[in-house]
């Protein structure tokens, strides 16, 4: 047996935009153990419920993470609406679903770019992010923000998005579909890319289930736990089939996300064709959340869980968020065991870590 060495990885690291620290115990070039330590982005914003009244809290919750900010806003609104026992108008639900799927596209394209950067394919990184700008432009046109939107509020949406704009959104997305296919072909068919992804970091179906993987990480191993299946938003009405893969390696995780990008375009198109007219918000007056409620959302990275507890006051007692990356850290530690040192950045990237979600 050769000598064991510990290599610190992070917190400041070129491949990850966010700080996370891993202690990698290696033997020769093989990782035998990976010990994560986190806490560099903990802000403690669940505690801010003491300082912000519940209608304002949505702006804080949105800033848990700038990548899936719309989903966080929606998740919070969902748990408060459940707590108050109100339901939002159908048009608002459709708009939320559309923006959430747009957010998924933006998040997955961002991830594809980071992955390409991770294995040193700079031009692929640039192309992914170039296409992502189209999605961000759509966000800016419809909500006014590029990454933080503040358009979701408890009871519905802050403003309506006109039907013509939605039509145009669909056309724009259909317009970039061809380019997205070209991009997908490079990720899925290029030999150099495949040599970095196929068979690397395999997570079997049983392991994924036992370790509680969520989102694309679980779906790449064949575990079907997409929360969208419970029909939140309008997923029940428009019909939805999750993208599943079987092999559980990095390639499968990449493939799930690429398929989801195209699926999001289809889902948005369906929503745009079915969206009813009407109000986008209900008025909530003189009511405060009392009691407990749990809301779940399928974020781009997997299932996120929002718990709220109120006692009939302007300030909530407690907000608790469990984010998908948190659930995906144990599977990450598992796939890191026995991998090559050079594969570590790629494997860390394939769970699509969002540290600011995890630590809040």
């Amino acid at each position: 047996m050769s000598k064991r060495t510990v290599i610190p990885f992070g917190p400041q690291h070129p491949v990850l935009p966010e700080p996370i620290h891993l202690d990698l115990v290696i033997e020769d070039e093989t990782v035998v153990e990976a010990i994560p330590s986190i806490g560099y982005i903990h802000r403690g914003l669940e505690k801010l419920v003491d300082k912000n009244e519940w209608p304002e809290m949505v702006y804080v919750i949105e800033r848990i993470c700038g990548i899936c900010s719309f989903g966080h806003g929606w998740g919070y609104c969902k748990t408060i609406e459940g707590n108050l026992g109100v339901s939002v108008p159908p048009r608002a639900e459709y708009l939320r679903t559309i923006l959430h799927e747009l957010g998924r596209m933006h998040s997955h394209l961002l991830w594809l770019g980071c992955l390409a950067d991770g294995f040193g394919f700079e031009s692929l990184f640039m192309h992914s992010w170039r296409l992502r700008e189209t999605v961000l432009d759509l966000f800016e046109e419809t909500t006014g923000g590029r990454v933080i939107f503040s358009i979701c509020k408890v009871g519905g949406m802050r403003k309506d998005i006109p039907n013509e704009m939605l039509k145009k959104m669909e056309e724009t997305l259909r317009g970039i579909e061809g380019e997205l296919h070209e991009l997908a072909d490079v990720f899925l068919d290029d030999d150099t890319v495949k040599s970095r992804l196929v068979g690397v970091g395999v997570l079997t179906k049983e392991e994924a289930f036992e370790l509680g993987a969520v989102g694309p990480m679980a779906r790449a191993s064949g575990v079907n736990n997409d929360v969208r299946l419970d029909g939140h938003g309008v997923y029940g009405e428009i019909g939805f089939e999750p993208c599943l893969e079987e092999t559980g390696d990095s390639y499968a995780r990449c493939k799930v996300r690429i398929r989801e990008v195209f699926q999001s375009i289809d889902l948005i198109a369906k929503c745009v064709s079915m969206i009813p007219d009407g109000d986008v918000a209900i008025e909530i007056k003189g009511q405060n959340p009392a009691g407990e409620f749990v809301g779940r959302i399928e974020q781009p990275r997997g299932e996120a869980y929002y718990y709220s507890k109120g006692s009939g006051q302007k300030f909530l007692d407690r907000i608790r968020v469990r984010t998908p990356t948190n659930a995906n850290v144990p599977p990450l530690v598992k796939i890191l065991q026995g991998c090559e040192l050079a594969d570590v950045p790629i494997l860390v990237l394939t769970i699509d870590p969002c540290i600011s979600c995890t630590e809040r």
Partner: protein, 186 residues
């Protein structure tokens, strides 16, 4: 030595932010905004960098890391604080373990406004920073001692919390910073 101001190398660090400003920093590097056409190159190594782009309000655990990165950068160097929460804590101002702004931890030269900051204003901030960088370079060349060490900014989060700084003295400090931020925005 014009190389530094004509082709500055940047390093980006996330000092407890929400990610929103970080992805906008990365967006600056990509084809839509493409700062590389100005000779700006992103590096992962503090020892190669002239400009530190930092986001976030810096939590207690991150303070030593931020200082370390800053001290490893060779002089002359500048720091560009990106986003409202890097300026004064922003939406996280009242969180319990937040230093409340990058300038409590290391010296900051330029503040970029916005939550999230737009790529255009980030680029503008970096360009403003180049002026500061040239000045610092001239000062160093004329034999002045290097003012940029993080030691002068020793900030102790524990005593900060104990003193109740947030309620008392801090409001003024925050105003100063937001004024500076407005100036940077102009």
């Amino acid at each position: 030595m014009a190389a530094i101001t004509k082709s500055p190398w940047i390093i980006h660090y996330d000092g407890s932010s929400c990610n929103g400003c970080d992805i906008e920093v990365l967006a600056c590097l990509t084809p839509m905004y493409d700062v590389e056409r100005f000779g700006i190159i992103n590096t992962g190594n503090p020892k190669h960098a002239d400009i530190l782009l930092i986001t976030g309000a810096v939590n207690a655990q991150n303070i030593p890391v931020v200082r370390q990165i800053y001290d490893q950068m060779p002089s002359p160097k500048i720091v560009v604080a990106i986003g409202v929460c890097a300026a004064n804590g922003g939406v996280f101002k009242e969180c319990y373990n937040i230093a409340g702004g990058v300038d409590r931890v290391i010296p900051v030269d330029v503040y970029v406004h916005g939550c999230a900051a737009r790529p255009e204003s980030i680029i503008d901030g970096v360009v403003k920073g180049l002026g500061v960088l040239a000045e610092k370079q001239a000062a160093l060349a004329s034999g002045e001692t290097d003012p940029d060490v993080s030691g002068a900014y020793l900030f102790d989060p524990v005593s900060y919390a104990e003193k109740g700084d947030i309620e008392n003295g801090d409001a003024e400090g925050a105003k100063d910073r937001s004024e500076a931020e407005e100036e940077a925005a102009k």
